[in-house]
Symmetry: C2
Subunit: 442 residues, 2 copies
C-alpha cells in the first residue's frame, strides 16, 4: 500500500498553457529574487572595511575565523606554479586528458569571439575608430567545498587568457584545509600561475582593494555564495564584476520524438545542482509528456543525488503542455532561459525565432551536459531571465574599447560649426569656444 502510494506520487507538476490560471502558475514557478538580508549586508560591509583598512592582517584573521585555518602569514595562503603542477601530475591520465580536451575546445571557440580594432577615414581626412585592449589584471573567484567545479575554472579563466589579460589571480577558499586538487589542476590547465586560498567577502575585498600580498584587480568574475555575491555587488564600480548568478535552469522544447529517458536525464542533470535549480520541459505532444513523466518516476530512484533532484523537481520543475510549436517558442522567449534545449527535428528553424536564451542546445543529441564541460561555448550564462539583457561570459568581458577620433584641420572646422550650435543650445559656452577655436575662415 505504502509503496504504491510512493510510486504514483507526483514528482513534477504538469501545467497546460491552456488552463485558466496558467499565467499565475508560471509567474509563481519562475519567481526568484535573491535578496541579501540586512544581516548579510552588515557582515559584508564590516569585512570589506576591515580588509580595506588592515589588508593582509585582516585577511589572515578572517580566514582563521571563517575557514577554520591555523594560518599566520599570507605565505601559507599562497599557492605557486609548482603546487598547481603537482596537482596536475597527480591526476589520473583520463582526467588530465579530459581537462586538456575541454580546455582546447573552450579556447578554440572563444578565439572566434575576439573582435579587432577598426578605423575608417572620411573624405576630409578625419579618422574615426575603436581600439580594443585587454584588461590588465583579473580576479577569478572559485568556490571551495562541495561546489568546487574544475570546469568553472576553465570557463572563467580561458576567455580572459584569450582576451590577452596578462595577469590572472585566482582565489579559492580551503575550509578546514581541504584542497581540491582537481580545481588546482584545472587552474594549471587554464594557465593560472598564482592562487590564494582565501574566500568569502574577504577574498572579494582583497581583489577589489588590494593588500600587500594580493594585487588589486580590474574585474572580478566567478560564482560564489550570498556573501560573495553581496560583496561583488558592493565593489561594483571600483572594479568590474560579472553577472550575479541565480539558480541554474534548463528549458527543453521537445517535439515528442526524443527518447523520454534521455529527456528525463537531461532534466535531472539540471535538477541535481541544488534544490533551487529549475528544470522545465515543454511539448505539444501530451502522450510524450506522460512518457517523460514515467521515465522520471522510474529513473529518479537510480540517481546518486536523488534527494536533491526530487526536491528541485517538485519545487521548481514542470512539464508544460502547449498547443503548438509557436506557443512553445513564445514561452521560451518569455522565460529567457539560461539553457534552452531544442530537442526537435529542425532545431535551426526554431533557434532563429529564439530572442532570449543564454545558450541554445540544438537537436536530440546535444545534451546540455556537453555544453557544461567541453563543447566549447562558455557555461557561465545569464540566469533568472537575465538573458533578456545579458550574454554568456566571453572574451568581450575581458576587453574594453576606446573610441578614436582624429580630426583633420578641415574636419575640425566643419564639425566645429555643428558643435558650436549644439553647445550654445546647452549653454556650455566653453565647449562652444573650444570647438570654434579650430574653425578656419573660408
Amino acid at each position: 500500500m505504502r509503496e504504491s502510494a510512493v510510486s504514483t506520487e507526483q514528482v513534477i507538476r504538469r501545467l497546460d498553457a491552456g488552463q485558466q490560471d496558467f499565467e499565475q502558475c508560471l509567474d509563481a514557478l519562475l519567481d526568484w529574487e535573491s535578496v541579501s538580508s540586512a544581516e548579510v549586508q552588515r557582515s559584508v560591509d564590516d569585512i570589506l572595511d576591515a580588509v580595506r583598512r588592515r589588508g593582509d592582517a585582516a585577511l589572515i584573521e578572517l580566514t582563521q575565523r571563517f575557514d577554520r585555518l591555523a594560518v599566520e602569514s599570507m605565505t601559507q595562503l599562497t599557492l605557486g606554479a609548482a603546487r598547481l603542477e603537482a596537482a596536475w601530475q597527480a591526476l589520473p591520465v583520463e582526467q588530465r586528458e579530459a581537462l586538456t580536451v575541454a580546455a582546447d575546445r573552450i579556447r578554440a571557440y572563444h578565439e572566434h569571439q575576439k573582435p579587432g580594432s577598426w578605423s575608417f577615414e572620411e573624405a576630409d581626412g578625419t579618422l574615426l575608430g575603436q581600439q580594443v585592449t585587454p584588461l590588465d589584471r583579473v580576479g577569478v573567484y572559485v568556490p571551495g567545498g562541495k561546489a568546487a567545479y574544475p570546469s568553472s575554472v576553465l570557463m572563467n579563466v580561458i576567455p580572459a587568457k584569450v582576451a590577452g589579460v596578462a595577469d590572472i589571480v585566482m582565489v579559492v577558499p580551503t575550509p578546514d584545509g581541504v584542497v581540491n586538487d582537481l580545481v588546482l589542476a584545472a587552474a594549471r590547465a587554464a594557465g593560472v600561475d598564482r592562487v590564494f586560498t582565501i574566500g568569502g567577502a574577504q577574498a572579494v575585498a582583497a581583489l577589489a582593494f588590494g593588500t600587500d600580498t594580493v594585487p588589486a584587480v580590474d574585474k572580478i568574475v566567478g560564482p560564489g555564495n550570498i556573501y560573495v555575491a553581496t560583496a561583488k555587488r558592493a565593489v561594483f564600480g571600483r572594479v568590474g564584476i560579472d553577472m550575479i548568478a541565480g539558480p541554474s535552469e534548463i528549458l527543453i522544447i521537445s517535439d515528442g520524438d526524443t527518447d523520454p529517458d534521455w529527456l528525463a536525464m537531461d532534466l535531472f542533470s539540471q535538477a541535481e545542482h541544488d534544490e533551487d535549480a529549475q528544470a522545465i520541459l515543454i511539448s505539444w505532444d501530451d502522450a510524450h509528456l506522460a512518457a517523460v513523466e514515467e521515465s522520471i518516476a522510474r529513473l529518479l530512484p537510480t540517481l546518486e543525488r536523488a534527494d536533491i533532484v526530487r526536491e528541485s523537481l517538485s519545487r521548481r520543475g514542470a512539464l508544460i503542455h502547449v498547443g503548438s510549436e509557436a506557443q512553445a517558442v513564445a514561452l521560451a522567449n518569455r522565460i529567457a532561459p539560461e539553457h534552452l534545449e531544442l530537442s526537435v527535428a529542425e532545431p535551426q528553424r526554431l533557434a532563429e525565432q529564439v530572442r532570449h536564451a543564454g545558450a541554445i542546445f540544438m537537436g536530440r543529441y546535444t545534451a546540455e551536459a556537453l555544453g557544461d564541460y567541453c563543447a566549447g561555448p562558455n557555461h557561465v550564462l545569464p540566469t533568472s531571465g537575465t538573458a533578456r539583457f545579458s550574454s554568456p561570459l566571453g572574451v568581450y568581458d575581458f576587453q574594453k574599447r576606446s573610441s578614436l577620433i582624429q580630426c583633420s584641420p578641415q574636419g575640425a572646422s566643419t564639425l566645429g560649426r555643428t558643435a558650436s550650435v549644439l553647445a550654445r543650445g546647452e549653454s556650455l559656452t566653453a565647449h562652444a569656444r573650444s570647438a570654434e577655436s579650430r574653425i578656419r575662415e573660408e
Copy 2:
C-alpha cells in the same frame, strides 16, 4: 593692490612628476568615491517599494511631491509623437540642422559596431556559434532642469536604435513644469516615440518594475543625480544598467606645440560641467605649461561659467610636468581618463601605447568638444578610472549573445566521453549519465 593679488592668484595647481610627494598628490587629486548616504539609500528604497506595489498611483504622488506638479493622471505625464514633432518644428533651422548632422554622424559611426552572428562546423558535423539579438525594450533616463542635454539623448538613444531595439521609452522630469523643447526635439531626431515626464528614483522604479502605464524595460541607461544612480544600482540584476558615471574628466598630453589658448579652452570645456569635473594637462615642456597657465588666467574671466570653472580647476585641476613622453603615457594609463587628448605631432604612435581611456582625441585639431557633440563616437564614457575595465556606451550594450551548439551524433558520442569523465570528477552523475546516453558503441 587688491587687483594685482587677484591676477597672480593661482587658479590651477602645478605638479611635477619628479617631486617627492608626487604619488600622494596624484592619489589625492584623483580620489573620488560616490557614496550614497544611508538617508539617500533609505529614501530610494521607499520609493522603489512604493512604485513596485502601487504603480501609477505612487508615480503620480511622487511626481506631485518632488517635481511640484499638479497632475492627477498618467496622461498628463505622457508625451506622444505629436508633441515631439511640435518641439522639433519649433526649433530654429540652425539647431534642427545641427541635430540632424550630429544624429547622422553618430548613427554612421555606431553602424560600424554592429557585430554579426557567426557559426562554424567541425569535421564530425558538430556546429558551434553565437547568435546576436537586440534587447526588446530599453529605458533612457534624461535629467531635467539645468543639466538637460539634448546631445545625451542622441548618444543614449541612437546606439539602441542601431542595435535594433524595437521599443525605446524615454523619461525626463519636468520640475515645476519646465519642459526643455531642445531635449524633446533631440528625442524626435533620435527616433523616440514615447516620453514620460517623470524622473528621480520613481522613474527608475517604473522602468524596472513596470506600471499600468509605463512598460517594464530590459535595460536602463542614461545619467542622473545620486537618487537616480542609487536606484539604478538597486535594480541592477532585475534589469541591465549602464555604468554609474562619476564627474567628467579630461587629460591632455601636449608636446608644447599646440596654441596655449586652445588648450586652456579645452580644459575649460571640461571644467565648466560642474565643480567636481577634472581637467589635467601633462607636458614635458615646462615653458609651455607656464604659457597655458597664463592663458588660463587671462581667458578665465571671459567665460560665462567662470565661477564653476574656477572652482573646478582649483579643486581638481592640475598642470603636471613630466620628464618624458613615455612618462606622460604611463601617467595616462595609470589615470585611465574618460577623455584623453593627445595634442602632439604624432598622435597615432602615442595612441597605440594607450591601454586605458574612454575616448582618445588625436592631434591638435581634435577638441574634445567635437566628440561631445558630433564627431560620431559616443560621449557616454567610463569615468573615475573605470576605463580600466569598461567601454564607451555602444551598440554592444543593447544586444546580447546566445551560444549555439548542435552536436552531430558522432560529435555527441565523442564529447560525451570527455563530459562523462569531468562530470564524474565533480560528482555530478546525472550530468554524466545525460552525456553518456548519447555515446554510441563503436
